[in-house]
């Protein structure tokens, strides 16, 4: 017989097979004891999976009693029930043993709850404390910053003043240097002018002399010419 592949049974088992496949596989199961046994085993395993139940794990909401209280009530109820049962059912039931057992487990879970509660509280406290510390720190930091800013403003003013003074001083020096330079240059100019002038005068007097001499020689030449020509 041609057996379907194992994975083909999966959609069938979970009700996701197409109608044709479903019919085909159902027919196969009716004719094949091997496959029928295997699939029956799988089905049983799926049923068995349901035996593992989880308690509802809804997170503790803001409403509703706090877990500690709930556990307290549960513990009280349990203890009451245990004691009552023990009393009522006389010697056959070892109520003490029962109670110590229940007490032990309830105690341990109470302790755990307490621990958790304590942790939560501690964390809250830490958080708020952290917030406060941060605020305090911030204000201190602000005031310190403000002080620093003020101080630095004063300092800046002072330095600016110094800078201005230095600047003015430098400018004054500059001006004086420039003046002295200009004076020097003027003196030089005057000296140059003087020497130039004397030079010019010398040239002029020399030129005069020369002209006079030229004129005399011209006159002499003219006299010589008229003497030679009758």
């Amino acid at each position: 017989m041609n057996h379907p592949k194992r994975e083909e049974w999966v959609p069938y088992l979970f009700g996701e097979a197409t109608p044709q496949t479903r019919d085909k596989l159902t027919e196969h199961l009716q004719n094949c004891p091997d496959c029928a046994a295997e699939i029956a085993g799988w089905r049983q395993s799926l049923d068995k999976l349901d035996r593992w139940k989880l308690p509802r794990m809804r997170a503790r909401s803001a409403q509703g009693p706090p877990p500690l209280l709930k556990w307290g009530v549960a513990a009280a109820l349990l203890l009451g029930a245990g004691v009552g049962l023990g009393r009522w059912s006389a010697p056959a039931v070892d109520s003490n043993a029962l109670r110590t057992r229940i007490e032990a487990s309830v105690k341990s879970s109470l302790a755990r709850e307490l621990q958790r509660q304590f942790n939560a509280n501690l964390q809250n406290a830490l958080r708020t404390a952290g917030g406060q510390i941060t605020n305090e720190f911030r204000t201190q930091l602000n005031s310190a910053l403000a002080g620093v800013v003020d101080a630095s403003a004063v300092e800046t003013q002072r330095q600016l003043g110094e800078l201005v003074q230095a600047f003015n001083r430098a400018r004054e020096e500059d001006r004086q240097i420039t003046f002295s330079w200009i004076e020097q240059i003027q003196k030089q100019h005057a000296a140059d002018y003087l020497s130039l002038r004397t030079d010019l005068e010398t040239v002029a007097s020399l030129t005069d002399e020369e002209i006079r001499r030229a004129r005399q020689s011209l006159n002499r030449l003219a006299a010589n010419k008229s003497n030679s020509e009758p």
Partner: protein
């Protein structure tokens, strides 16, 4: 009045709309809305994957912290639930790897389980015998699931306990649907091989006159050759006798 309108709009909001608000406006009320809608299933998934209620609770919180952290990377055209399941499942895998590295065994029925038992006990106590039996069987199932490789446990938990469709699971795990099917088949086969003898033994112990038919069925079914035999070591066989000790 505005507040009432706001709250009623929150109430009728889809997950994707709420996530959009969280993403774009850091709207903490929308986030609380998502949290309230999803914390129960996510907590169940994490508890079932790790076999531990308290660890499940921690992982659930970590999942939502991660959702808020990664809110900007949520794709607006994606489905919120798919994204959320994926984050939770990956965190579970990480945690299981850590547990393995530390060499702890989540198989041990620790005080957490005891406290869960106490809680159940405190809630309702109709028929102690029947309840006790059911708790013992529940413990067997918890252990059997923990013995399965994680990839098989994951698909089983999502499909059976959380009732997700095979297609959704393939989207969450980002694997083809055929792979989901073969993982489920393998998971169911292994689970059956672990649980069947244990339950048979239990029933035999509780009611020695009743012969069980399951063993015959098992014999007739035979075992496919490609599956390694992972039936529980003998030391584990008697565990269920002492697991519930209230």
């Amino acid at each position: 009045m505005g507040r009432v309108n706001y709250l009623s709009s929150l109430f009728s909001m889809t997950d994707e709309q709420a996530m959009w608000r969280v993403q774009t406006q850091d709207d903490h009320r929308a986030f609380v809305h998502l949290l309230e809608r999803w914390e129960e299933p996510i907590g169940r998934l994490c508890a079932r994957m790790t076999g531990d209620l308290h660890r499940g609770e921690d992982l659930k919180q970590e999942t939502f912290a991660r959702v808020f952290e990664k809110r900007k990377s949520f794709q607006p055209n994606a489905r919120f639930s798919t994204w959320l399941w994926r984050i939770a499942l990956n965190l579970c895998y990480d945690e299981l790897r850590r547990i393995n590295r530390r060499g702890e065994s989540p198989l041990d029925a620790d005080e957490n389980t005891t406290s869960a038992v106490v809680r159940e006990f405190a809630a309702e106590t109709p028929a102690p015998d029947a309840q006790m039996a059911e708790r013992e069987e529940g413990e067997l199932v918890r252990r059997a699931l923990l013995q399965l490789p994680e990839i098989y446990r994951g698909v089983l938990v999502l499909r059976h306990y959380e009732n997700l469709k095979l297609r959704e699971i393939s989207e969450i795990l980002e694997i083809p649907e055929g792979t989901v099917n073969s993982r489920l088949a393998e998971g169911l086969a292994q689970l059956t091989r672990i649980l069947e003898p244990q339950f048979d033994e239990r029933r035999g112990r509780l009611n020695p006159f009743q012969a069980d038919g399951a063993a015959d069925l098992r014999k007739r079914a035979g075992k496919p050759a490609d599956i390694p035999d992972i039936s529980a070591p003998s030391s584990r066989r008697g565990l269920h006798l002492k697991t519930v000790n209230l």
